[in-house]
Structures are given as structure tokens and as C-alpha cells.
Amino acid sequence: MAQDTNAATGFGIVSFGYAFGEDQDVAAVAADYVDDPDRVLKWGYRTFHRAAAGVTGTDLAREAGQQALDRAGITADAVDLVVVATTDMPEYSYWDAASALARELKIERTQTLWLNEGCGAGVGGLFYVASTLAARPEADTALFVVVNRVSEFHRNRMNVINTVLSDAAVAVVVRRGHDANRILATEQFTDPEYSDLLRLDFGGAVQPLPPIGWDATDAPSAYDQVREQFAGDPAKLRKFIGERYTRLVEVIEGAAARAGVDRREIAHVIYLNDVSTSIAAVATPLGVPLERTNAAVAPGHGHMGGADQLVSLGLQLERGELAAGELVALCGISTGRWAASLIRV
């Protein structure tokens, strides 16, 4: 079923808000994180954002959320739903990031949802916003915030995957019947075989404490974990790496079919802030050139977890790079989860 059958019942993004950690020059600080900074520099990132000590993910989320509300011209009490997606280590256990944000925004009572699904959550999360509003006819306005605040105790931001992890939050106000930036449809699926691919073994109930002498600079990289998962099975590794991209095209095509639009109409592809060749690997099969992706945004921000796609969408809209009526595909991968959402500008 298409999420948006017509403008009156569909949902559109009214406004964007952002909060970025302090700008850091990749070339100047890479050697603080890895022994081989040249390898990091070759990925092509110029700048990433690093939140100052004491600035939490909730702080970033509040700043971005308040900006989105202000830009929409509404106050927090007009929000019927608060959805928060966090894509790094949460601040606490036995705690709720969405509830915490609602309190920070001085909302006294609302429905909340916290997603903690990795880097595709900013895309897949739009489904939960739209479907919740669809199931609550009396609700008109949602605040969706995606925040990535790297815990440098747990992870080395330059050695997790082939990107520089960055601290930022993005917020959007979504309103029923808003006719611009409409969320047409979301398609997503999970392949549970990869549930443990980026797992950190400690910090949960099974192994609450880190090993003695733990240091994030020595933490295993994603490649180490990939090697462990696929040890001795090159065919399976080849299949996994190939499917990373083919499955993104699959969910984009699925979203197009769900929305009832021709996928050849897709004018822009916004993926994670990955290296440009990876972005091209997603966009090229769809006939979208690199110039109409987030490839130009990524080097200046780094990989902001699940916030990448909505940050790019907002910035590209503000720069006038996306024209009214154009179809934009947002897509991303979490651990074993592929997601795409189509936005009609």
C-alpha cells in the first residue's frame, strides 16, 4: 500500500533543524586515531564533527529539534509524536532517548518512539513516523530526530568502517497534508544473518564490562569482524559485499513500486556519507550521476550515522539543488537492514 495516496492524507517534511559537533580537520587529527593516516585521507573526507566533552546525543537532538520546530513556526506542545533514532552507543541503560528528548523540549505528554537500528534508521524511521500518523487520524505533527554521537570510549571513529564517524543530529517536522517534501513510501527488510556484524561484545547484559586494558584505538575494525564472519568462505564474502549495493537498488525499486512511481523518475539518490565510489555503486545502476547524489556533501561532514541522509536532503534543498516535484531516493544500510524512502520535493 502506498503511504501517500494523495496530498491531503500524505505526510510532508515542513522543516529541518541541525546540530553539528565542532568541525575537525581530518588531515590534522587522523594520526591521533590511526597509525596509518594516509589510508584515512584517501577516503576523501576533509572535515568531520566532534562533539565537545560533555555534549551528549540528547543535547544535539534538542538543538536540532528546537531549530526544526522554530523553522516550522510551531511550539513543542503542537507535536503529537516524537521519534528519535540513535545510531551510536546510547547515553544510558534503562533509559529512553525519545522520552529524554521530549522532556528536554518541555513536552508534557506525547507519544514517543526510540529507534536504535544503526545507520539506516534515518531512512527507515520515516516509515514509523508515517505509519504512526496514519494509524492516528487525530495526530497531525511529528518530530523525527536522528542523532549520531560517537562514544570514543567504545569506538575508534576512524577505524570502524571506511568512513570517518561524525557527531551530529538532524530533525524534521513532518505534518499531515503538507504538500512539499512528501514521504511517498518506504521499503525495508532485514537479513538477520548479519545481526552480529558490528556487535560490540561488552556493555550489555552478557558482558557488562570491557576487558581489562580496553582501548578503543585498538578496537577491532569492521573488517576484522567481517573476516570473522566470513572466515574461509570467499564466495559468501563476495555475495555479502555485492548484496550491500544490489539490495539498496532492490529497496529503492521496492519503494518506487509501493509509491506507484516509475523508478526511472528518480532524479537524486542520497545514500550514507560513504566514499564517492560507494555512493556511485548505488546511484549508477539507477541511472543517477554522482553529481545528483550526496557525494559533494559527504567530504565536509563525515559519516553522521543515520543522520546523513536527512542532513543531505535538507542542505541540498536549502542550496536549491533539488527542484520542486523531483523525486529523491534516500537509502541506507544498518547492520543487516536495507532501507529506502522516496521523497517528492
Binding site: 596509518d36 594516509d38 589510508r39 584517501k42 577516503w43 571506511n162 573488517y223 573476516r227 566470513f230 574461509g232 570467499p234 564474502l237 563476495r238 559485499i241 555485492g242 550491500r244 549495493y245 560513504d274 566514499v275 565510489t277 560507494s278 556511485a280 555503486a281
Partner: protein, 93 residues
Amino acid sequence: MSIAHHPRTTLAEEVRTATLAWVAELLEEPEVELEDSFLELGGHSALALQLGEYAKERFGDEYDLMVLFEQPLGRAADELSARLTAAATAEAA
């Protein structure tokens, strides 16, 4: 050099030469050596797939990604040429 060994050696050299040229092109590295590591040169999964496509188009098969990621480029090239030779031998038998 035996007649049987000659084509294998030629193929191995061809794969090695092509591997260095492709890696240099994809990673925009003017000088690539057989001892270099794909990952340390800045290689990643999307480039590995592209490299594999080049190899498949020219030689009919791809690199073993585990070898490409973990061993020097020369080893990845030799592993591919050994597989190609084995496949050709099996086909001829």
C-alpha cells in the same frame, strides 16, 4: 621452460600486470607494487567489486576477496591466475 609451464607463466604475469594497472587506476596511485596491500592503499569494498569486475571481464573470474583484503596484491593476482589455470586444465582434461 616446459611447454606446459609456459602458458601458465604468461598468464600469471598478465594477471599481475593487469592487477597493478587496475589498482593504480582505481586508487589513483601512480606507483603500485606487488607487495602493496589493497586495504592499506585505501581500497574498500566498492573498489574491490570494481576490480573484480575488471578481472571477470578480461580473465573470466574475479579475485578471492579474502586474499585481496588480507594479502599483498601479488598474492591476490597469483591466486586468481592459479584458479584460472586449474579451471583451464580441468576443462582441457
